[in-house]
């Protein structure tokens, strides 16, 4: 360490505050009046959490709000999710009947179209 810093640290050793004559009374008065301002302050949510947990909780909350926002803002049909809705959007009614929605009652016309497709050309 260079001499400038050494001199600075030596100078710092001399700089000391002494307690004033009423310091003890002030401390005792604070003790009598109950917990200090610092201690009495109602703990907020960040005071309750240990320091290391704060970023994790913040990220988790952000993700939670993002998911909630997507759920609320994106119109999704009740019977199918976002991915299904995206995949299904390009299907023709025939393809939809075959691959995507086998439970739904198929139209007679659609059945006939499919049967015609399978019949060998004469």
């Amino acid at each position: 360490m260079n001499s400038e810093l050494n001199n600075f640290f030596k100078e710092e050793q001399k700089r000391v505050f002494e307690p004033g004559p009423y310091f003890t009374q002030r401390v005792m008065a604070r003790l009598v009046s109950g917990p200090s301002g610092v201690e009495a302050r109602a703990p907020g949510i960040w005071d309750v959490l240990p320091n290391a947990m704060r970023p994790i909780v913040a990220v988790a909350l952000m993700l939670l709000f993002a998911v909630l926002a997507i759920q609320i803002l994106m119109p999704v049909e009740p019977s199918r999710g976002a991915i299904e809705a995206y995949v299904k959007q390009d299907l023709s009614p025939r393809e939809q009947m075959l691959f995507a929605d086998p439970q739904a009652g198929a139209g007679k016309a659609q059945f006939e179209e499919l049967i015609v497709l399978e019949e060998p050309a004469q």
Binding site: N2, E4, F9, F17, E18, P19, F23, V27, L31
Partner: protein
């Protein structure tokens, strides 16, 4: 030391006289330690009060055979660390949102120019590095004492001291250029 032990036992039992005697006995040490990190008398006195309020709030945790001054030093250094961190956050916010000359305000005008630069460089250090450096260089504590006071390992103290000195030298070097 026996006197201290008896005082602590009485203070734990709620004896006001013993509590007063403890404040009187240990306030010079607490003031001296806080003076190493804060330059205004008001700050030092406020923090010293906080330290004693914390001390009495946790005095039940002290075993009479424990090194009481060492425990109190730890409480004091932790209180200073919390305050320095808060101050650093405030200062960063000010530096970000308001172009005030914060560093100049914290330096007393009477001291030599070199000391002003050294102080600025020291204040720019993260409290995690500043505290062990000040305890070593100004309080002349050993690495073992610093480790005990800060509640970290001796290796960690050495690493922090090394980093603090390196950063200090770098910032003083850049000031000279």
């Amino acid at each position: 030391m026996n006197f201290d032990r008896e005082l602590i036992v009485r203070a734990q039992a709620g004896d006001r006289e013993a509590q007063e005697s403890l404040v009187k006995a240990f306030s010079p040490m607490v003031f001296r330690l806080i003076s190493r990190f804060f330059r205004s008398r008001e700050d030092v006195e406020d923090l010293a009060q906080d330290v004693f309020v914390k001390m009495f709030g946790r005095i039940d945790q002290v075993r009479p055979d424990e090194n009481f001054p060492g425990w109190l030093q730890r409480v004091t250094v932790n209180t200073c660390y919390d305050e320095l961190r808060k101050g650093r956050r405030r200062r960063l916010a000010l530096e970000t949102y308001g172009p005030h000359e914060i560093a100049e305000r914290t330096v007393q005008p009477k001291e030599p120019e070199d000391f002003g630069k050294a102080r600025q460089a020291l204040q720019a250090l993260d409290p995690k590095l500043r505290i062990p450096l000040i305890l070593k260089e100004v309080e002349e504590m050993s690495v073992e004492e610093i480790a005990r006071t800060m509640g970290i390992t001796q290796t960690n103290v050495k690493v922090r001291l090394f980093r603090a000195r390196k950063k200090l030298a770098a910032s003083l070097g850049s000031v000279k250029k």
